[in-house]
Amino acid sequence: MKGPALTAVRAGLVSCESCHLVSRPARADEPGFCSRCGEKLEIRRHGSIATTWALLISAAICYIPANMLPVLDTTTPSGSEGDTILGGVAFLYTSGSWPLALLVLIASVMIPLGKLVSLAYLLISVQRGSVKNSHERTRLYRIVVIIGRWSMLDVFVDTFTVALVQLQPLMSVAPGQGVLFFAAVVVLTMLAAESFDPRLIWDSVDSCEPVHG
């Protein structure tokens, strides 16, 4: 491509995030609402970096109790026992279904951790004005958005286990405190991914385009 890339912001236009209608706002600092779908128009997501950091740090804090506290409490006549997420993985592994154990391990431990690290990397690289690996960083962002929902898996597993195993006095399962923190990690990282604006990755590229090529 010759010369600096023509982006909507350079042309004084704003693209609706919901219906993708491109329009020319009357005032650039206050674009108002989309004339087609009524969505609030923003040239870049408002306070994207600060909001994403706030949500990400909250998620990272919740990640610790989510893994330390039990997500399920099993009560039998012989006593009560708490199971953490990793305990659940170990249970599935020892009961012979290692593919499911691996699945839960990926969805509950690796995906949330991967999201925290990936979003932190994206934020830091944008704040440092990095122009390298823009394609890869955009792809990383898309992956984070797509796979984020899968970490809700353990919350659903716990819900249906609790719903079904209510066989007092033989055996009953109650949700533990960990499940709340775990659900918080999933929701906070999903919201963090929603508040991060991938166009910021390309803004650094645009601002030094004539030099860069």
Binding site: M1, A5, L6, T7, A8, A11, L13, S15, E17, S18, C19, H20, L21, V22, S23, R24, P25, S35, R36, C37, G38, F91, L92, S95, L100, L103, V104, S134, H135, T138, Y141, R142, R149, W150, M152, L153, D154, V155, F156, V157, T159, F160, T161, V162, A163, L164, Q166, L167, L170, M171, A174, P175, L180, A183, M190, E194, P198, R199, W202, D203
Partner: protein, 208 residues
């Protein structure tokens, strides 16, 4: 100042590059020339297909939420549950926030998504598209993000395997309907031409 620009002008949602969508061959796709994001797709399916899929999904969604998803038998005891039953039990056990979240992602968002889509697809068949159609299509997009039925399905399967260690668990009738919903949801998503829907909505609001 007239803010209206050619409808084929788009700014890439991922990198903000302004570009025009060329005329596409049936089944053709347009991707961003800079970052490779899919910008548009020329749909080939029948105009009635999205509506047919959505009607089927609505019926299956009702069946899967009213009949038991799974049943448990142990020493003469019997228990069964549905999605709403799962959220209710979590609420009764004191995990109210988690219960609300499960209810939203597994019940409210998918039901909202399918019913809004149904109303929308019927509404755009009339010669004049109602003014609330744009607002509704916007909500469809938001609800889709939080509708996690495929994750719920996997969660149920893992729970079944875990409980199978302790008791006999069988999938209920609702489970088969739920399986159908899981297949129908992505089928709706790939067959509904949102660009075409948005284009129709815009034309109807233009004369105001």
């Amino acid at each position: 100042m007239d803010a209206r620009l050619p409808t084929d002008a788009v700014a890439c949602p991922d990198c903000d590059l302004l570009q025009r969508i060329p005329a596409l061959a049936p089944g053709g796709r347009a991707v961003c020339t800079r970052c490779g994001r899919l910008l548009a797709k020329q749909f080939t399916g029948s105009r009635d297909l999205p509506l047919a899929l959505t009607v089927t999904a609505a019926i299956m969604l009702i069946v899967s939420n009213t009949l038991p998803l799974m049943e448990l038998h142990v020493v003469g005891r019997f228990a069964s549950t549905t999605i709403a039953g799962g959220a209710y039990e979590m609420w009764m056990q004191g995990q109210r926030v988690t219960s609300a979240l499960v209810a939203f992602c597994a019940l409210i968002a998918p039901v909202g998504y399918v019913s809004f889509m149904l109303v929308l697809l019927i509404a755009v068949r009339f010669p004049s598209v109602p003014p609330w159609a744009g607002e509704m299509l916007r909500w469809v997009g938001h609800l889709q993000v939080w509708s996690m039925l495929e994750v719920v399905m996997l969660g149920i399967l893992v729970a079944l395997v875990k409980i199978a260690e302790l008791a006999t668990v069988d999938p209920g009738i609702g489970m088969y309907a739920f399986g159908a919903v899981i297949l129908l949801m992505p089928a709706i998503a790939v067959n509904v031409d949102r660009r075409e829907l948005w284009r129709r909505i815009e034309w109807m609001e233009a004369p105001r």
